[in-house]
């Protein structure tokens, strides 16, 4: 058992060390790319915590990202960062708790559209508030340096990855995955379905809240259309689907691939980037439904009888 686990831990440590060295080696451009990569890893990991584990696919993670950004901007230069950023995270988590109670009662397509709708609703509400306040975009003066933001983001990415890793191996994670396979059966077996789902929803909102706050400082500009941009939610989902959404390495792989693509295409050919994103999503759902990591670990475990094939669900 030590073999694969030790080697994967070694890979984690090597990757974390490489990312920690980046500020000392790289110039502003690559540090910026590194920051983007870390932010996407943190976002995709937090998405996996809910949607990867429970199968409740959220198309609304931009909601927590935007909310965190908005709160950080509102409290900017009034609260110190070490208070305002965690506060943004907690606010996002509390919002998820409050929303989760009604929202998590529906599932399947309802849940998907509902999360999307909530993110849009939140966007229009913030736009409306800003218009009432007479603000059309806010410029942030004296935002922290790129290095500072990078360290914050590195910590977030590490925490998010660790969270996925630990949850995946805990009773809690087993419960969530049981919900994904068959919610009624899980409930019958004594999984506290409602509590678990709610907790997973809140946990998956916490990190995006802080990431949103940090990224608002990075752009030093806040504008609701950008902060609640549905492309953020899309990108997270595609990253998780490409990499694999059942364990911690998946989102990292997915984020790595898409950030490279983003750097190549986003500025010059945003349409092409999004077209490739869409095609990648279709291709992976049809041909690599477990994502890259799922495919790789299936290969590694081979057909020795202890493969990670999911139990077949009974036909509905």
């Amino acid at each position: 058992m030590t073999g694969p686990r030790a080697s994967s831990l070694a890979i984690y440590f090597a990757a974390a060390a490489a990312m920690a060295l980046l500020p000392f080696l790289a110039g502003t451009y690559y540090l910026g790319v590194g920051l983007a990569l870390l932010s996407w890893i943190a976002l995709a990991q937090s998405w996996v915590l809910l949607s990867g584990m429970t199968g409740y696919i959220s198309l609304g993670h931009a909601m927590f990202y935007g909310l965190g950004g908005y709160l950080t901007v509102l409290t900017w230069q009034q609260w110190p960062l070490w208070i305002s950023l965690p506060a943004a995270g907690f606010a996002a988590a509390v919002a998820a708790l409050l929303l989760g109670w009604p929202v998590l009662r529906v599932r399947g397509p309802y849940f998907v559209i509902l999360t999307y709708g909530l993110a849009e609703l939140m966007k229009f509400v913030v736009i409306d508030i800003e218009a009432k306040l007479g603000k059309f975009g806010r410029l942030l003066m004296g935002a922290p340096s790129l290095e500072t933001l990078y360290w914050i983001m590195l910590a977030l990415a590490l925490v998010a990855t660790l969270a996925t890793y630990l949850v995946r191996r805990s009773r809690f994670g087993a419960g969530l995955r049981a919900i994904r396979e068959n919610e009624e059966a899980a409930e019958t077996l004594g999984v506290p379905v409602v509590r678990f789902k709610l907790f997973a929803f809140a946990a998956s909102a916490f990190i995006p809240g802080i990431v949103g706050g940090t990224m608002a400082l990075r752009t030093a500009y806040f504008e609701p259309f950008q902060a609640f941009n549905p492309v953020v939610s899309f990108t997270i989902v595609v990253m998780a689907m490409i990499g694999g959404s059942d364990d911690a390495p998946g989102p990292i792989l997915g984020a790595l691939l898409l950030v490279v693509l983003q750097e190549l295409l986003w500025v010059n050919a945003p349409e092409l980037y999004l077209i490739i994103l869409g095609l990648a999503l279709i291709g992976f759902v049809l041909f690599v439904p477990d994502g890259l990591h799922g495919r790789l670990s299936r290969k590694r475990h081979g057909s020795d009888g202890r493969s990670r094939e999911r139990p077949r669900e009974h036909p509905a």
Binding site: R105, P109, Y110, L114, L121, V125, F234, L274, G278
Partner: protein, 296 residues
């Protein structure tokens, strides 16, 4: 603020409602027969609108003449997508096992692709059609000809489809499939054929709605998603798979939106639609008009 009792407002509400009903009907057909929620539905409205725009701009074909061809075009696109993406999905047991989330992701990917292909080809600049802009007056009521045409066509097509489902044999088979899949198979109806037909019909209706919409407002590559959302709100209001209920619900939402906006301001339009949507899902996920709960 407009006078709430004016016939003008009622007319606007009816036009919006008829369009919503028509869009929702297409979405409902595909959902009802296949239990697949087409998130890309609005993108076919967008494609229909662009088809009408280009037919008019490049070949001087008026939208009303182009409509039947637009319907055929989008229906054919629907068939191609059915064959290309979903037949495989339905047949592969490993994918069909989680058909619901997989199909959502497929439609979702399709929607991103279509939006951005349209944006790359046509640019994101909003366009509009100068067509049927004259105004017909009856008493106090002034009706733009394009809106009147939209109301008449959308309402009559939607009604025709509902009647077709009630009285035609193929229509009855579609209805049977919506109500009970196993029983439909047992009595010897070719389920795959019905699915194919409904898929094509659903996409064709989206194209038709798009052709009509092209006459009324701005045409952009990203105009589609709001139609998906409103269509979804309508079929939740009317009950998933309940086609007649969807028409009433479409009208209801049109009225709600038009009067809601008249009472507040256009800024609240999106908040209103999403608010209604979330409220209904939370309070009565089986739909206001849907009596029995359709299991997911």
């Amino acid at each position: 603020m407009a006078d709430l009792l004016s016939t003008q407002l009622l007319f606007a509400a009816l036009v919006t409602g008829a369009l919503y009903g028509l869009t929702a009907l297409g979405l409902n057909l595909v959902y009802g027969t296949m239990r697949l929620l087409n998130i890309a539905h609005g993108e076919f409205v967008m494609l229909g609108a662009f088809a009408a725009f280009w037919a008019f701009t490049l070949a001087d074909i008026p939208p009303l003449v182009a409509l039947p061809f637009i319907v055929l075009l989008t229906a054919a696109a629907g068939l191609a997508i059915y064959r290309g993406l979903f037949r495989g999905l339905l047949r592969n047991p490993r994918l069909a096992e989680r058909i619901e989330s997989n199909s959502l992701l497929l439609f979702f990917g399709l929607s991103i692709v279509l939006q951005n292909v349209a944006a790359a080809l046509f640019t994101a600049t909003p366009r509009a059609l100068p067509y049927l802009d004259s105004i017909i007056r009856i008493g106090d009521l002034g009706m733009a000809t394009d809106r009147l045409a939209t109301l008449i066509i959308a309402a009559s097509v939607a009604l025709a489809i509902v009647l077709f489902l009630r009285f035609n044999l193929l229509g009855l088979a579609i209805k049977a499939l919506i109500q009970n899949r196993e029983a439909t198979q047992i009595v010897g109806i070719d389920v795959e054929k019905i699915q194919r037909t409904s898929f094509a019909l659903g996409f064709g209706l989206a194209g038709l709605a798009g052709g009509l919409v092209s006459m009324l407002g701005q045409i952009t590559p990203f105009m589609g998603f709001p139609y998906t959302i409103t269509a979804f709100v309508v079929i939740i209001l009317g009950g998933l798979g309940n086609l007649g209920g969807g028409l009433i619900a479409g009208l209801l939402l049109g009225i709600l939106e038009t009067y809601g906006v008249a009472l507040t301001s256009t800024n609240y339009r999106s908040i209103l639609i999403y608010g209604v949507f979330i409220l209904i899902l939370v309070i009565r996920p089986q739909g206001l008009l849907g009596g029995r709960r359709i299991a997911r």
